[in-house]
Symmetry: D2
Subunit: 189 residues, 4 copies
Amino acid sequence: MDRLLKHVDVLLKVTFINRKVMDEDMTIKIFVTGGTFDKEYNELTGELYFKDTHLSELLALGRCTLKVDITTLMMIDSLDMTEEHREIIAESCIKAKENRIIITHGTDTMVDTARALAEKIKDKTIVLTGAMIPYKFGSSDGLFNLGSALSFVQILPSGVYIAMNGRYFNWDNCRKNKKTGRFEKVRED
Amino acid sequence: MDRLLKHVDVLLKVTFINRKVMDEDMTIKIFVTGGTFDKEYNELTGELYFKDTHLSELLALGRCTLKVDITTLMMIDSLDMTEEHREIIAESCIKAKENRIIITHGTDTMVDTARALAEKIKDKTIVLTGAMIPYKFGSSDGLFNLGSALSFVQILPSGVYIAMNGRYFNWDNCRKNKKTGRFEKVRED
Amino acid sequence: MDRLLKHVDVLLKVTFINRKVMDEDMTIKIFVTGGTFDKEYNELTGELYFKDTHLSELLALGRCTLKVDITTLMMIDSLDMTEEHREIIAESCIKAKENRIIITHGTDTMVDTARALAEKIKDKTIVLTGAMIPYKFGSSDGLFNLGSALSFVQILPSGVYIAMNGRYFNWDNCRKNKKTGRFEKVRED
Amino acid sequence: MDRLLKHVDVLLKVTFINRKVMDEDMTIKIFVTGGTFDKEYNELTGELYFKDTHLSELLALGRCTLKVDITTLMMIDSLDMTEEHREIIAESCIKAKENRIIITHGTDTMVDTARALAEKIKDKTIVLTGAMIPYKFGSSDGLFNLGSALSFVQILPSGVYIAMNGRYFNWDNCRKNKKTGRFEKVRED
């Protein structure tokens, strides 16, 4: 077993070295779907609403030098997300030429969308992320989560993941705890 | 070669699965050394200075649920960092019971400290990170970098890395571009 | 007429000088009634709500050295403000030992409350103010408006005023323009 | 005496009514001279410096609807302000067609500049203001002070004043307390 682990470790480093060569020219695709992340306050009506995504602003704030390509697929509250919306997201992921994809998404149904994507896509690394507080409200976790999601998506093997609270979760072992607002595993592996 | 890569991929997934079991109880050690990250504005003198670290505040903002243990080793500008300081950091990393360590550090000599650590420590995953703008100045990249560093440190194999600008760099292939303020590779791998 | 104006100017200065003596020991009463000013974002429900007032925080941010005394009368959206609520505000103003009073209030019905107060109170300087964006959302006009209201209340003669957008308005010549979200005069004086 | 005070009060109200007619078309001149207010953090050198003034941004944030006209006279630390600089400011105030003028200024020598202006200008209302924390650093008192200065300048009679900490001070009875960073009277009136 020890020999195997050592073997794995060597292979792991080989893989990382190979991957780094690829990484250099790799573009990360970001699909925007809305969610708390991009909500704004309408000062005339006093209501929260969607205008434009703040992803570019966040990437600039993070002094991010990764190659990214941002496409807004929709701007909706994740409670309003239907199977048709998820179909659009899945199709977009499949058609994208990039193999590493981030999806910004409302937190309430993030796990449902992750599941829908995992059923259809096996050969790409897809990381869903979001925020508990709108970016525009100052005290947002969005910048932290984006830094985290961009890091995980560069390294994790193919699969569908959720990056929240500094962690990554496999799509099939994750839920949002409604009381705490934090993501957690459903069961220990 | 194809068979090897497939083999690697399987082993990689096995490793990730194994690692996940460990991750659950893993504590990440964070050593604070100062740097722009934690600088504050002294409104009486109009000068920048160090008071306390804002790491806990940043982790709370990111709604981070990882187990972390923060120790402030020093609070200095990285231009003032001597070999003695680096010795303290290295010793602290070696003595730490954790295998995954983040070091917050000024950006100007971050690469030098990474080199000093890499010479002495081979069996831990150490990620150095920092900020171009103090956290207290509102528009800081610190929260993004912390999210990124915490994610990389959970997954990268043993070694010393720098996490800045959404990327990770090996200690021996990284420099800060003084004109742009961005980190970059010294050579293509 | 010129002589009169000159006379007024002298008297005006005399008044200011007299007033200044009083000002030194003057406490300004602040009544909090809620409004956008103090709204917060509930990250578990995604809704805006009231918790505590941020007035003390704002005064600290402004390094305000005026003597103020803050009392929260209610924490409601101004669209929910009834005649009973206005009765409470008026009674509180009358009973207050201070002659200079600021009321934080939602903008939608601020003018209505000003009118209700003006009918009952003649001998105090009362300034209503509010915000278009919650203080907690970073880009709030609240701090500006508070600085403005605190300044106007120290100098304006007895009467009921609204301080918004850097201006003061008499209670009987003010409306909120629902399209622009700005306050304006109803007619030229 | 009572009759006199009542007389003054009536005249005061008449004056306010007259003034309001003028106010409507009044433009407030704002002269920018630098100071902490407009300092920024140079992320390449780690030093504080001046770029452009943020006055327009602050006025927009405050949803200010006053007519203002902003001119940048200089962008310097107030410790570097010489008699020549003060000459330029005084000349600019004299030549300005506006009678109500705000000057943004570093806090360290604000009182000195106020004195220099008071010696030369008797017939205008001039209010100097500044900030203890740069506007760009998030937690600035600048927005509060600007709201306050704009309010005082509309109402105070001719003279030179300092507006800081929510108060106004006559130029000849004001000093900055170096220990607390707050402005205070030199003597009771």
